[in-house]
């Protein structure tokens, strides 16, 4: 019974909050699943609180979280691309001055 109500709480959208700046980002669940860390957090079977509340806090600046969300959306869009489709290069959308912080965030989130 408890499982039913937990499943019912699973919505299509999840919220990622930047702990440092307080900004929150609402993204579709599929997009968030592109990150290994978020996938495990939001997995209802894993028993984490985030799974029931569909919210996850991340200890990064908002700019970094935003860029990661942008990447996850890009990844979700082009993940099923056929062999002939041209995937635009995301790398040129990363400004170098956030590259180091973004690397640490990407490593933590398994993106």
């Amino acid at each position: 019974m408890a499982e039913d109500s937990e499943q019912a709480k699973q919505s299509d959208w999840v919220k990622i909050i930047s702990k440092r700046d307080g900004h929150s980002f609402i993204v579709p669940r599929d997009v968030a699943m592109g990150s290994g860390f978020l996938r495990n957090s939001f997995n209802p079977e894993a028993g984490f609180l985030e799974g029931t509340q569909n919210t996850c806090e991340v200890d990064d600046r908002a700019i970094i979280v935003e860029k990661v969300m942008e990447y996850l959306a890009h990844k979700n869009l082009y993940a099923k691309a056929g062999p002939r489709e041209e995937i635009p290069d995301f790398q040129e959308r990363i400004p170098p001055d956030i590259a180091l912080e973004l690397l640490m965030a990407a490593d933590f989130l398994e993106a």
Binding site: G47, A79, A81, R84, Q91, P96, D97, A99, L103, A111
Partner: protein, 466 residues
């Protein structure tokens, strides 16, 4: 041909030609016209070619028997980590463009780049600095000798250098290093197996006097002569590690005994060579150097037995903090228990490792907890499979300062044991990690606690999308 085709009379019989009324033999090429069957000459004169084959039946084009899948390399979307590393690589020479490098933990960046095996001689320069006093490279696999030599030119003031996986490092590197690295005091190399004996000797002679730490793992070319040079040039060495040296044997211990200022000694073995140190020579060694040792590691020297502990460590070590005696199958439960009863309490052990000593069991565990209850922070009894539940239940109570626990493959660990460790009667613990691989009595009802990582619970496998 069957007789009753309905049209022609049986082959071989005579028939009258419909045109010239002559008798002829019916063959399978006999053609008829409206009035009857014609003989061969009449058939030819009427224009019809009796030998003409019937028009071929139109067939359906042969269906493709093989479905060839056109296998094209689908380039998946690149990982964000990979892309960031590429960007960093391209901005090496304009590091200021990468933002405030001071705010970022460069060691963490080095770990991340190493973890994805992307560290190469180009982006390693990100971690170089003239003011560096300490440098750790976690994966030097892609660095070749010239890159290692350049390291000393670009980090001239290094005091502490640690390089993991330096398999491509050759003798020339040590030759170059012996002329630079003016301030080097501690050198830690993992797997410099290409470096040859003369290079070792040369380097040790040049740098020995200034070294306080010499930690090498996995070098099959390091000989006893190299060791003798080390004894000569660096008699006041504090930290010594000669681990996984295939040439090492008991006769080396006499030389090592001369390092009387040692605080850290690691002589773990490389099991592949099947050469192990034996107890008596180790006891003699400890007589000489045991006094000041804070760290002692003798893993995988399979011939060491209880006497080494009882007559060696217990009698001669007074300042131990880390004791690692893993993979010593000759140790017995009673022996280890007696050892801990005998070991002076001035040895305030924070880290104890008896993993994969299969005989070690409940008596030993109780003795460990009794001796080190106040100080123990890390306990590893992975593989001590017979330890019973009662002894395991003591851990939570007995060791309040424990942060790391490895009870992998201890078959008697179950949910209740984990519960007793996480929630001891006296209150909170400082525990951060529990490793319980191979404990199949733990179920999905295993208790959890915020801030504690439990790895190895089998029922979690289903949750991991492997």
């Amino acid at each position: 041909m069957s007789s009753a085709t309905g049209k022609a009379p049986p082959i071989g019989t005579f028939h009258e030609c419909a045109q010239c009324q002559k008798k002829f033999t019916v063959t399978k090429y006999t053609i008829s016209n409206d009035s009857g069957f014609l003989c061969h000459p009449c058939a030819k004169s009427s224009g019809e070619n009796p030998f003409k084959k019937p028009a071929p039946r139109k067939r359906k084009p042969a269906a493709e028997k093989r479905t060839v899948k056109n296998f094209e390399e689908v380039e998946p979307v690149k990982t964000l980590t990979g892309m960031c590393i590429s960007i960093i690589g391209s901005y090496i020479d304009q590091v200021e463009e990468l933002g405030d490098v001071g705010a970022v933990n460069m060691d963490k960046i080095c770990r991340i780049v190493s973890k994805s095996r992307n560290l190469n001689e180009h982006n390693v320069r990100l971690f170089y600095d003239v003011t560096n006093t300490s440098l750790v490279i976690y994966d030097s696999t892609n660095l070749k000798s010239p890159a290692f030599s350049a390291m000393s030119a670009l980090n001239p003031n290094l005091q502490r250098l640690t390089l993991h996986m330096c398999g491509q490092m050759e003798s020339t590197v040590l030759d170059d290093w012996s002329k630079s690295f003016k301030n080097l005091t501690r050198l830690e190399l993992h797997a410099p197996f290409l470096v040859r004996e003369p290079a070792w000797i040369n380097f040790i002679r040049a740098k020995g006097p200034q070294l306080t730490g010499f930690l090498i793992t996995n070098s099959p070319r390091f000989t006893q002569e190299c060791l003798d040079t080390l004894v000569e040039s660096a008699p006041d060495l504090n930290e010594l590690r000669l681990a996984e040296f295939t040439k090492m044997n008991d006769s080396w211990l006499e030389g090592i005994a001369q390092f009387t200022s040692l605080t850290s000694l690691d002589l773990s073995s490389d099991r592949s060579s099947r050469i192990s140190l034996t107890s008596q020579p180790v006891i003699e060694l400890l007589k000489s150097v045991g006094r000041n040792l804070a760290l002692l590691r003798l893993d995988a020297n399979e011939e060491l037995d209880d006497t080494m502990l009882l007559d060696g460590v217990a009698l001669h070590c007074t300042a131990l903090e880390t004791l690692s005696m893993s993979l010593l199958p000759a140790l017995t439960d009673e022996g280890v228990a007696k050892f801990f009863d005998k070991l002076p309490l001035t040895n305030e052990l924070t880290c104890v490792n008896f993993s994969r000593c299969h005989e070690v069991s409940s008596l030993a565990l109780r003795a460990i907890l009794k001796h080190s209850r106040a100080t123990l922070q890390s306990l590893n009894i992975n593989g001590c499979k017979e330890v019973d539940e009662d002894a395991l239940n003591l851990i939570g109570e007995a060791a309040p300062r424990l942060t790391e626990l490895d009870v992998g493959w201890c078959r008697n660990v179950n949910d209740l044991v984990i519960g007793s460790i996480l929630l001891p009667k006296r209150g909170m613990t400082e525990l951060k990690t529990i490793n319980c691989f191979g404990c199949n009595r733990i179920t999905q009802n295993c208790p959890k606690k915020a801030g504690v990582t439990i790895i190895g619970v089998e029922t979690d496998i289903s949750r991991q999308r492997l």
